[in-house]
């Protein structure tokens, strides 16, 4: 029998070691699995490489909290502005940064999950972000070769889940979560609700359970989401 439900955040995060590459879903605070990230900060694996769109928004929670604990060696993201913790670490030379155009970041992750090692895109051609990358012309247009991204672990947030690991999302919280779920060896989802019985309605499933290893139920942090909106 398949049952991907786990009872606690600690159990959900079991097996994440030093030096792991961790994808973290979310666009700003929405869809960011802060309960999982905060629990990971408590466990404290070091030298992490984090792949996410942003670098967090509050020193008390989420990605910035992980950084404030000194656990992150490298950040791969499109838009780290808005994280004071990241800014101070970066300007002090205590964290590495790889800036990736947002669409290229999404496509690198999607390809990672789909078994595609590299692809060509017009994004970034003749810019600082494509220096030293292979370029090629197709049908008169110039393209940059980008490598796909995979990870040891993906931490994602869903609205609802079932015991098979199927996920659905709410509002704009889908963002990077479905593609990150596909691109990691171990995908761990936090969800506001895990439905019983026959599970989620198959027509509504966005992330099929094959991509998800563990699901854990946590209460939605509505106050945090509203605080993040005000802070931006």
């Amino acid at each position: 029998m398949i049952d991907k439900r786990v009872a606690s955040l600690t159990e959900a995060l079991e097996g994440i070691g030093d030096g792991a590459t961790v994808m973290i879903g979310g666009f700003g605070a929405v869809g960011q699995p802060d309960a999982l990230v905060d629990a990971l900060a408590e466990i404290g694996p070091r030298d992490l490489t984090i792949i996410a769109n942003n670098a967090g928004w509050s020193a008390e929670t989420g990605i910035s909290h992980l950084m404030a604990r000194g656990l992150v060696r490298k950040m791969i993201c499109s838009f780290p502005k808005g994280s004071e913790v990241f800014k101070s670490l970066y300007t002090a030379g205590k964290i590495e940064l790889e800036i990736v155009p947002q669409g290229t970041l999404a496509e690198r992750i999607r390809c990672g999950g789909a078994g595609i090692p590299a692809f060509f895109t017009a994004t970034g051609y003749q810019t600082k972000l494509s220096e030293s990358k292979e370029t090629r012309e197709f049908d008169g247009r110039h393209y940059v070769m980008e490598r796909s991204l995979t990870a040891d672990v993906a931490l994602v947030e869903a609205w609802k889940a079932d015991r098979w690991g199927n996920l659905i999302y709410r509002g704009s919280s889908r963002n990077f979560n479905p593609i990150m779920s596909m691109a990691a060896q171990l995908t761990i989802a936090q969800a506001s609700e895990i439905v019983d019985g026959d599970g989620l309605e198959p027509n509504a499933v966005v992330t099929p359970g094959i991509f998800v290893n563990r699901v854990v139920q946590v209460e939605s942090r509505v106050d945090d989401l509203l605080r993040a909106q005000k802070a931006s």
Partner: protein
């Protein structure tokens, strides 16, 4: 006349309205963060324009009232938004497939510099920002069917932002189709800047004096 601050032409609301007037009915449009976001306020009701947000929304509506905020629904600037009838929600790879696959009719972005060849610089400064960030600017500039720039005609200290060659790091080469400033509307074609219209009361000589490349009437 470089070195003289510009205090003529439209105010920022006027600039946003001028651009909004050129958006067609039934276009799918992505508005960048900052002044471009204001354009939505001036698209009149007789046109059904579908606003796209990078974080996975088509059919964004106006900012909600304080009691109507959905904590799970934000725009690319991470501010609360609403959904219009016919809206849809999707993940980031689909969202950027819309952009990079040429499905978005128009993107409106801000700019530090635009060259007469349509090169766009809008993501970082020549010295390199203290902390670089690019977001979706490079994807939008190369991917949308049309890239229009909404920006002031000169810098705060009066230097032209429409130039022969960009000195700022590029976001994308030969990407810009039109530039809307407080002084007028300019189309980029055949490697040059062509005047579409000048703001009320301004002549070509006045605008040319504030421009770093030749304006073609």
């Amino acid at each position: 006349m470089t070195g003289t601050p510009t205090s003529i032409g439209l105010d920022t609301a006027g600039m946003a309205k001028r651009l909004a007037d050129d958006i067609h009915d039934a276009w799918y449009v992505n508005l960048g963060v900052g002044l471009p976001t204001e354009v939505a306020n001036y698209v009149t009701e007789e046109r059904e324009v579908v606003f796209h947000s990078e974080n996975g929304i088509l059919g964004m509506g106006p900012t909600p009232g304080d009691n109507e905020i959905d904590p799970w629904l934000v725009n690319a600037g991470k501010k609360p938004v609403t959904l219009r009838p016919g809206a849809s929600l999707f993940h980031h790879a689909d969202s950027f497939a819309m952009i990079r696959g040429g499905h978005i009719d128009l993107c409106v972005l801000g700019g530090y510099e635009v060259s007469q060849a349509g090169d766009l610089a809008n993501w970082t400064t020549p010295s390199g920002d203290l902390m670089p960030a690019v977001g979706g600017a490079m994807d939008l500039a190369v991917g949308a069917k049309r890239t229009w720039i909404l920006m002031r005609h000169t810098t705060k200290d009066g230097q032209p932002k429409l130039v022969e060659t960009c000195t700022y790091p590029l976001t994308a080469p030969a990407a810009v189709d039109r530039v809307y400033t407080e002084l007028g509307v300019f189309e980029i074609r055949d490697g040059g800047l062509h005047v579409v219209s000048l703001s009320e009361g301004l002549d070509l000589e006045t605008v040319q004096a504030r421009t770093g490349a030749t304006l073609h009437a």
